[in-house]
Symmetry: C2
Subunit: 111 residues, 2 copies
DNA sequence: TAGAGCGCTATAGAAAGTCAAGCACTACGC
DNA sequence: GCGTAGTGCTTGACTTTCTATAGCGCTCTA
C-alpha cells in the first residue's frame, strides 16, 4: 500500500489525525487524567480520545499510568519522544500569532 | 460555539485537517498543477484535494493561478504566510527521523 | 441519601473522506 | 484523422471516521 515507508510522511499522517496535535499541546503543559484531558483539549468525545491515547501510547509518544483502579484514576503524560514535539507546537503557535487571518474562518456572522 | 477564539487552537485545527500538512510539504518544494500535486501528495483524491486547496487559498496560505483555461493549466504555490510553515515541516521531519519507531505502525504483516 | 465525579465502553447517527466516472477540451503518435 | 493520454476539476454513491448519548461500577462530598 504505502510504497517505501517514509518516516516523514508517516509523521505527518500521525500529526494530522484529528485531535492528536491538541492532545500533545495539552500534555505539554502538564500530565492529565482522562476527563481532565478531554476538557483541556475541548470538544473531543471520550470514544475518540480513548482511541487516540491508545495509539499515541503504542507509538511511544505518551505514557499511561493507572494510579488507582477504584476510584478510577489514570495519568497520561508525554514520553521523551512526545516532549520533543514541543518545538513544533511552539513554531505553530508563533506562526498562528503572526498570521491570525490565515487561521480564522471568514466571519460571516450576521450582527 | 468556540469560546473566545484562540489563534493557536485554530492553527492546530487547520493543520490537523487531513492532507493539509502533506499539501504544504509538497508545495514547499515547488509550485504544482492540480493533478501533479495530487501525485506528489500521494493518496488524496481529487474531491478532497479540491476542497483543501480552496480552503487554504481562502485562508491566504496558497495562491492559485490559472495559467490557461484550455488546455487547462493551473498553478498552486505557497504565499509568504504558507512558506513560513517551512520551519514546522522541518522540525517534524527531523523529529520523524530521530524517532522512526514512533511513527511506524507496528507491522503485523504475516509473511 | 442524593448528586457529582472518575475512566472508560457501546451503540446509533451524522459528517467527512474515498472511488469511479465523466466533461471539455488539447497534444502527441501514427 | 483517430485513438490514447493528459489537463483540472465536479458529481454521485459508498465507506470510513467522528460524534452524541447513555451507561457501568464505584467513591467521595454535601
Amino acid at each position: 500500500m504505502e510504497e517505501d515507508f517514509c518516516p516523514i510522511n508517516a509523521a505527518l499522517d500521525l500529526l494530522q489525525e484529528k485531535w492528536n496535535l491538541h492532545i500533545i499541546r495539552a500534555l505539554l503543559r502538564a500530565p492529565h487524567g482522562f476527563n481532565e484531558l478531554a476538557r483541556a483539549v475541548g470538544g473531543v468525545n471520550a470514544a475518540t480520545l480513548s482511541a487516540r491515547l491508545e495509539k499515541l501510547e503504542r507509538r511511544g509518544l505518551i505514557e499511561r499510568t493507572v494510579e488507582s483502579v477504584m476510584p478510577p484514576r489514570t495519568r497520561y503524560e508525554l514520553t521523551r519522544a512526545g516532549q520533543e514535539l514541543h518545538g513544533v507546537i511552539d513554531l505553530v503557535s508563533a506562526w498562528a500569532l503572526r498570521h491570525p487571518e490565515a487561521v480564522q474562518d471568514e466571519v460571516q456572522e450576521a450582527a
